[in-house]
Symmetry: C2
Subunit: 395 residues, 2 copies
C-alpha cells in the first residue's frame, strides 16, 4: 500500500513510518519541523538525542534497504499539500501533523490561535486535496480521547445512540474538550465528518489515549532511528515525567488529587493500531472513529506504579493543578473496535516501566529539571513558559 | 448599559445597533466592511440601497440625537480587539461580526479556509480580550440553528440530558452542521463554552433561525438608515429570493423536494431577542444557548405562502438541490427560553410577506436575475460564483 505519513519527524510519526515501511508498504514522509521549533522556542530538548530527518531516512535505507520518499513543507501551504498528494499518489494518508500539546496551546492568545489555525487549516487543505485528486484515498487522522472530556456517562467510539422524547437517533458523541489544543481536534473531527458526507471521502479518526514508551522494533535498530522522549511540562506526558523524576531523585509531582483518569497505550500499540486501520479502510463516505487506547489509569495510579517499579525510595507530592479539570470523576470508555480488528495490546507492566526508567537512566545527564515545572496556567490568559534567559527557573 | 455591537454595518448588526441605541443604551459600533467586499467580489448588491456606515451614524444622530461611537477594524487583528474592549469599556458585546453565508464558505478551498479562520480567530481574540480586560462582560454571540443539522430527535436549546447504560448526564447537544460556515459556528460554540469554563466568562449563544424582513421601527425613520436586503444565491435567504422572483415574474425556485424545514423569525424579533439576552445576562462562568426563532417552515411551505400572498399568478419550480442536505426530514426544535424572558413574536403572516413584496417592488429596477441562480455546488470543491465578465450568466 502507498502511504503518506504526515508529521513523520515527530514522536509517533517517525516510528509509524518505519513500522509501515518494514511491513512492506511504500511510505512517503512529510514534515515541516515545527516540533523541533517548539523545543528551540522553549529551550528544551528530547531526552533521547534524535538525528535530523534526512539522516534518519538515509540510515533507514542503509539498515533496511527501504526508501522513504521525503517531502519538507507545511500543510497550511495548500500548494504544497496538492503537490504531495498528486506526486506521491497515496492510497492512504496518516495525519499526525498537528500541534499536539495542550499546555502549548494554553500559553497565551498567540499560541492558542496558532494551534487552532495550524491544525484546522492543515486538515482542511488535506481534505480539499484528497477530494480534488482522488476521493478513494483513506485518511487516517490522529484525534485524541481528550476530545470527549470526562462526561458522567460511558464514552463510546465516536457516536452514541440517543433516545429522547420517544425517538431514537445515532448522533456524534458530544464533546467537552479541555484545552484549545483538544478543541482544535474537535473542530477537525467535525470538518472531516462533513467532508466524508458531502464528498464521499473515507476517513478513520483515531481518538488516541496518552502514549508511553520510546522504543519500537525499528527505532532500536540504530541510534539514528531513535524517536523523541519528551518529559518537559509542555510536551512531556505524565508517565515520562514520573520516570525522569524517579531517576533524578525528585518527588513525583501529581497535579491536584490525581484522580484524573485517562486512556493510555504503549507506543508499539500505536503503530499496530494505525496499520490495522489502514488494512481495514473506512468505506466510501464513511467517517468512523476508533478509540485508540488499551487501559485506563488515574494519574495517582501511574505515580504508584512508577514507585512500585523503581528500585529505590520515592516520594509522591501533590502540587496545585495548573489545569482546569475534574480531579475526580467517572471514566469508562469503549475501545473494542481495534481489538475486533485484531489488536493484541502491550499492557503497562512493571517491565515496561523499568525499560522506560532504563532509557531515562542512560540519558540522565541530559535531564533539565527546571523544564519539568508546570508553568502554563489554564486560568490565566498568558503564561511564561520558561524563566527569562539568565533568570531563575520558575518555582 | 454600554454595549458594543460587532458587525454593526451588516444586515442585522445595523438595525440591532439602532434599536439598542433608541432603547437608551450607550452603543458602540464596529465593522471592517468585509460584507460589502463580498458584494464587490461577486458583482451583486443589496436590493435596497444602503448608506455608508459613517453616513448612517451621522443621520442617526440627526434623527435621534443619539451618538454611536464608531470603530473601523478587523477582529482577526487582536490589537484592534484589545483596543475596542479597553477604550469603549462595554458591559456587553453583541457579536454579529462573522462571515455568515453557507454558499460563500462552500465556493472553494480559499473561501472555506477564510470563513473558518475569520470566524474562529475573531471570536478567540474577543474571548482573550474579555478575559484580560474584564471577565464580567457578557458576550452575546450569534450562532445558528444550522449548527444542529437535522437529527431524527427533538432539538433542544444547546444541551441534552442523555441517559446511557444506566447513568445520566447533561451534555452539549451533538452538532451535525451542513456547511463549512455552519461548522465555523460549531467551532465557536465549543471554544466559547470552554472559555466560560476556564475563565468564568459569561456568554449567551443565540442559535438563530433564518431571518426575514427588512424594515424595523428605526430603519424606516430615514432612507440612510435602511438595512440590506439580499436576494442573491450566495447571501440571500429563501423568503427574500421568493419575493424577488414573484415580483419580477420568475418561477419560485425550490431546491429539491422542498421538505427542508428551518426555524425562521422576523427581523424585529431578532432585535427583541438580543435585547432580552442583554437585559438578562448569563451568570459568571455560564455558557447558555437560546434557540432564537419563532416558527418552523419547510421551503415548499414558504413558496406556497408567497404564492398565496402574491396578488398575481405564480409558478413554483423544483430545481436540483446544489447542497447536500436531507430534502425531507423530522424537525422539531425547542425555543422556549426567549419566550420565557418575554418575547412576543411577530409571526409570518400574509401581511408580512406583502410588506416584503412592496419593498421589492419599490426597488425592482435594481434586481439582477442572474444573481439568483445557485452556482455554488456542495459536491464539487470549486464553483464559479458568477459568469466571467462579459460572459453569459450560468443557466
Amino acid at each position: 500500500m502507498r502511504i503518506l505519513v504526515l508529521g513523520a519527524d515527530g514522536y509517533l510519526g517517525w516510528p509509524t513510518a518505519l513500522h509501515l515501511s518494514r511491513r512492506g508498504h511504500d511510505v512517503g514522509v512529510v514534515d515541516n519541523f515545527c516540533r523541533r521549533g517548539y523545543d528551540l522556542e522553549m529551550g528544551v530538548d528530547s531526552l533521547v538525542p534524535i538525528a535530523q530527518l534526512q539522516q534518519r531516512v538515509r540510515t533507514w535505507e542503509e539498515v533496511s534497504g527501504l526508501r522513504l520518499e521525503t517531502y519538507v513543507g507545511d500543510l497550511t501551504d495548500h500548494v504544497f499539500v496538492q503537490r504531495i498528494i498528486t506526486e506521491f499518489g497515496p492510497e492512504a494518508v496518516v495525519h499526525f501533523a498537528e500541534q499536539r500539546s495542550a499546555p502549548y496551546s494554553m500559553i497565551d492568545r498567540a499560541h492558542c490561535v496558532y494551534t487552532q489555525v495550524n491544525n484546522v487549516v492543515g486538515t482542511l487543505n488535506l481534505l480539499y486535496a484528497i477530494a480534488e485528486h482522488d476521493r478513494s484515498i483513506h485518511l487516517v487522522k490522529l484525534g485524541t480521547m481528550g476530545e470527549y472530556g470526562t462526561p458522567n456517562i460511558d464514552i463510546e467510539e465516536g457516536f452514541i445512540e440517543v433516545t429522547h422524547k420517544g425517538r431514537t437517533d445515532l448522533l456524534p458523541y458530544p464533546k467537552q474538550p479541555g484545552s484549545y489544543y483538544h478543541l482544535s481536534k474537535v473542530h477537525d473531527s467535525h470538518n472531516i465528518a462533513f467532508a466524508c458526507r458531502i464528498w464521499g471521502l473515507r476517513s478513520t479518526d483515531l481518538n488516541q489515549g496518552v502514549v508511553y514508551g520510546q522504543e519500537t522494533d525499528e527505532t532500536t535498530m540504530h541510534p539514528d532511528l531513535a524517536t523523541r522522549f519528551d518529559y518537559d511540562a509542555v510536551f512531556g506526558t505524565v508517565l515520562n515525567r514520573f520516570c525522569v523524576q524517579a531517576v533524578v531523585g525528585h518527588p513525583l509531582t501529581v497535579y491536584g488529587k490525581g484522580g484524573q483518569t485517562r486512556g493510555m497505550l504503549d507506543i508499539r500499540d500505536t503503530l499496530a493500531c494505525v496499520e490495522l486501520a489502514l488494512l481495514h479502510p473506512a468505506a466510501e463516505g464513511e467517517f468512523r472513529v476508533f478509540n485508540q487506547f488499551t487501559e485506563s489509569f488515574s494519574v495517582r495510579q501511574m505515580a504508584d506504579m512508577v514507585a512500585d517499579a523503581y528500585p529505590g525510595e520515592l516520594r509522591i507530592d501533590h502540587v496545585e493543578d495548573p489545569r482546569v479539570e475534574k480531579e475526580e470523576h467517572y471514566y469508562r470508555a469503549a475501545h473494542t473496535k481495534l481489538l475486533d480488528l485484531g489488536l493484541v495490546p502491550h499492557l503497562l507492566e512493571p517491565a515496561t516501566i523499568r525499560s522506560l526508567l532504563a532509557v531515562v537512566d542512560h540519558h540522565r545527564h541530559r535531564v533539565d529539571l527546571a523544564a519539568i515545572n508546570p508553568t502554563v496556567q489554564w486560568r490565566t490568559t498568558a503564561s511564561a513558559v520558561r524563566a527569562p534567559i539568565g533568570g531563575k527557573a520558575p518555582a
